[in-house]
Amino acid sequence: MSENSTVPQPAMPSSANLIIVLVMIAMMSGFLVVLTDQLTADRIAANEQAALERAIFTVLPEATQSRSYILSAEGLSLLAEGEKISNDKQAVYAGYDDEGNITGLAMVAAARGYQDVVKTLYGYSLETECVTGFTVLLSTETPGLGDKISSDSDFQANFDCLEAKLNADGSAVANPIQTVKNGTKTDPWQIDAISGATVTSTAVGNGLEESTVRMLPLLAKHKSSLQMTLTD
């Protein structure tokens, strides 16, 4: 293009040639990506299921077995063995100890963080009516900053008993969970954010607030369908 005119130039390929090459490469790319997606879909689904099961026992440490329920406006229904949950926002996982007595519940919370959605599984105690801990299911937050939510011990201390009590008639959460600036926590339903990772800390708080506000009143309403003791 800028060479002097005595050097013979290779013929400029026709537009059709250029288009054909790009189309072929794009098709090959599409084919490779879809192939990889198909080949890995089962493995990924199995990994996610295994991770979820591990997560349940992480947030419910006294439990040795678990049952899955779907909670919706219609009611709380027990899932059969092997039945898949289609909307994990409606899932309630109940943990039972060796004797078959219920130890706590685990539910999914999700909210937009700094980069993308932060999905967590949190433990809830029926006796104390608080959130007892959480584990991260899915997060692409800033490495070294946002991912501190799992490791920072001061942040984790917020969840020793994060209050999520229902009001007197059980129709709503009395004090919705909120995330406050680092060092300004005054009430048991507040989460002290991590200094330098406020957005991710807020995402955890928002997810918990959304889930507890939606699920806990429904849970109270349909509590009779929850198996407090395993019979089999």
Binding site: M12, P13, N17, L18, V21, L22, I25, A26, M28, S29, L32, V33, T36, D37, T40, R43, I44, N47, E48, A50, A51, Q115, V136, L138, S139, T140, E141, T142, P143, G144, L145, D147, G196
Partner: protein
Amino acid sequence: MVQDPRLPEKLSWETFSTGLWKENPVFVMLLGLCPVLAVTNTAMNSLAMGLATTFVLLCSGVLVSLLRKVIPKQVRIASYIIIIATFVTITDYAIKAISLDLYKALGAFIQLIVVNCVILGRAEAYASKNPVVNAFVNALGMGLGFTFALLCLGVVREVLGSGSLFGFDLFGPAFQPWVVFVLPPGGFFVLAFWLFIFSVFRKRKERAQSNKEEVANAA
């Protein structure tokens, strides 16, 4: 970007070693600085990013080299980018399928590899002009050089900024870490420091080389 005016070269140790030192993608060519600054806040992240980038470098280098006679130069950049993005996506799926824990640890890095100039730079400067085996060997050298550079930064930043190395606490709870080193300004400081050190080494080597030549000529 370094222009390679030489014709397709013969395969030699140079092909591999050039990426490690003489044409180190970070410290000499100053390519891929965005992930270098972003993901080196811990040594583990640096290592993982380096290995993932090496994998994409290898795959895209080989494919670009295989297709070099077919792709017209007017659409080469677009083609290279499609190829690189494809392999980054494949890497993303592969890691998710291998281990979700590993995927969670690497998380946002994988997609960052697409914006890494080292890969596009090498595709344009080398892989598009050399046969497959050369391209593979050169990409391997470049990838390892990149990983080495990342580790240089990652180790310093993690030790000073968090008091730990690869997650292992080094100094105990009494140590007050120099937090700035795990934040962006610290990244710039450490990068500047390493660029300075490498520059000093290179100048010294060049001087020693030219002194040797002078002596040889005089003799």
